[in-house]
Symmetry: C2
Subunit: 289 residues, 2 copies
């Protein structure tokens, strides 16, 4: 096989990947080739433009570090992460809605006891988070693993500081109590621009887009026999709810902050000072749905 | 705009990139979004698969160095580079056929005088290269810049050694003489696997493909008012002419090596020992075609 031109090259490449021993690998490879070639055939990039595309993707990869994932940013800002999320969460029923993981999740975040202040000294007004985790048949799930992470009042995550992974703050893990309940104390996060000093930021500028996300707290929750839930709670008074740069906002995940005076809380916990309160009852889908 | 699902997310992203101030940027951005979303909709990746795709692209970017361009390898092995080449070189007329640039081109390669040995001590049997450069109306082009690079008898380029860019060999630049002629001495290159110790190598294995290219010498030629020519000459006795991993082979670029005894050469040059000879007359397209 030789002498390929624009009418024969695609079939030649498809023929070549047809030997993939794994059927899924073969299917995905064929789809990559078809769609990528279709894109090139539509856009007809000049050699210079294609070299620029190669250089752009290279910069995206080289911008990635232990604490920055520029390819996730690219996927998020092109709406692909939300599309993948939607495809994987059809018919959620009464299970809590999902949204993107984002690039700031850290594995092995520190464990906390219920009620702890998890802010790690982050700047911001005090925030009480009270919630619960149940199954879709409304049974509370004790011992569910509740992971959370959020930005500070300036809109920065812990891992964006120079300390990186060595000074985690505003993130952690708790386990739900006997009635599926959890709570922790932290600070109110601000809306923020995604990191836009790299190639994805350059892309957004070229596309005439702002880089902002509305204020939110990330959650990831898991329990035996349940599907792991990846979602956010968005703050109702935040800017950018209608123009989230990663297309992640859902009405069902927007929460009004409540006022909670010092003393016993609405959910029977106890705090020593006045706080804003963020409350939500999460429902995990069955793993075998 | 919020609450996006798989039926609405694509239009939402298209709407967002519609603000791109540059029309070409807008057109390309829209095409990227449509084709990328179509791919995802067809393949329906699991969250785990999408995370693996992100990790793969990150590895590709992180594998790139001053002397290794893994994204070009990816583009080459998926047939995209040859497709872009084909789209940009329709109707070549009698101009020399084009093929891929590949990942081993180095800017500012050393200049040589006509007839020099450019092998830099590379291993291999001696090879005489004699050629000419003319315009499509058969006028010889004096002073054309002829750049060339090739692997050694083991199939390795200079920049693949630990010395990297500090010990260039088997590459250089000469300028054609008054009759458009050029010649240099070097060694016969071998067929070789593209660098397959990285993510692109992993992909080829998963696709059940070999990583080999047939033996060849790269050329890039430029002259005033002519389109820069990027091409190879392939050696007719090489393996893999019909299964080049980057789909680059064209019959018009395959050359039989000739036998050239020491003394005056077929083209009026002079060599001191017996050599194989690679001869080709290149024709540059007009820049304004």
């Amino acid at each position: 096989m030789r002498n390929f031109d624009e009418t024969t090259i695609t079939d030649a490449v498809l023929e070549r990947v047809r030997n993939a021993p794994d059927l899924r690998q073969r299917f995905v490879s064929e789809a990559i080739v078809r769609h990528l070639h279709d894109f090139v055939r539509e856009v007809e990039p000049s050699q210079k433009e294609w070299a620029e595309a190669i250089a752009f993707l290279t910069r995206v990869g080289q911008k990635c570090t232990d604490t920055r994932q520029e390819f996730i940013l690219l996927s998020d800002t092109l709406g692909v992460s939300m599309l993948v999320d939607a495809i994987n969460h059809r018919f959620p029923g009464n299970a809590t809605q999902t949204t993107v993981l984002g690039p700031f999740h850290v594995v092995d975040a520190p464990e906390f006891a219920l009620g702890d202040d998890i802010s790690g000294g982050m700047a911001g007004a005090p925030l009480l988070v009270e919630g619960s985790v149940s199954s879709i048949d409304r049974q509370p799930i004790a011992g569910a693993v509740v992971e959370f992470w959020h930005a500070d009042a300036e809109g920065f995550y812990d891992v964006q500081s120079e300390a990186g992974l060595t000074n985690l703050a505003g993130r952690g893990v708790v386990r739900t109590g006997a009635k599926g309940e959890f709570w922790f104390q932290t600070v109110i996060p601000a809306a923020y621009p995604i990191p836009d000093d790299g190639p994805v930021g350059d892309m957004l500028k070229a596309q005439g887009r702002h880089p902002y996300r509305p204020a939110h707290v990330h959650f990831m929750m898991s329990a035996p026999n349940c599907e792991t839930l990846v979602t956010h709670l968005f703050l109702a008074d935040s800017e950018y709810l209608d123009s989230d740069v990663v297309f992640g906002v859902k009405d069902a995940l927007i929460c009004e902050l409540e006022t909670q005076p010092a003393g016993p809380t609405a959910r029977g916990n106890w705090i020593s000072k006045d706080m804003a309160a963020l409350r939500y009852d999460f429902v995990l889908a069955d793993a075998d749905r």
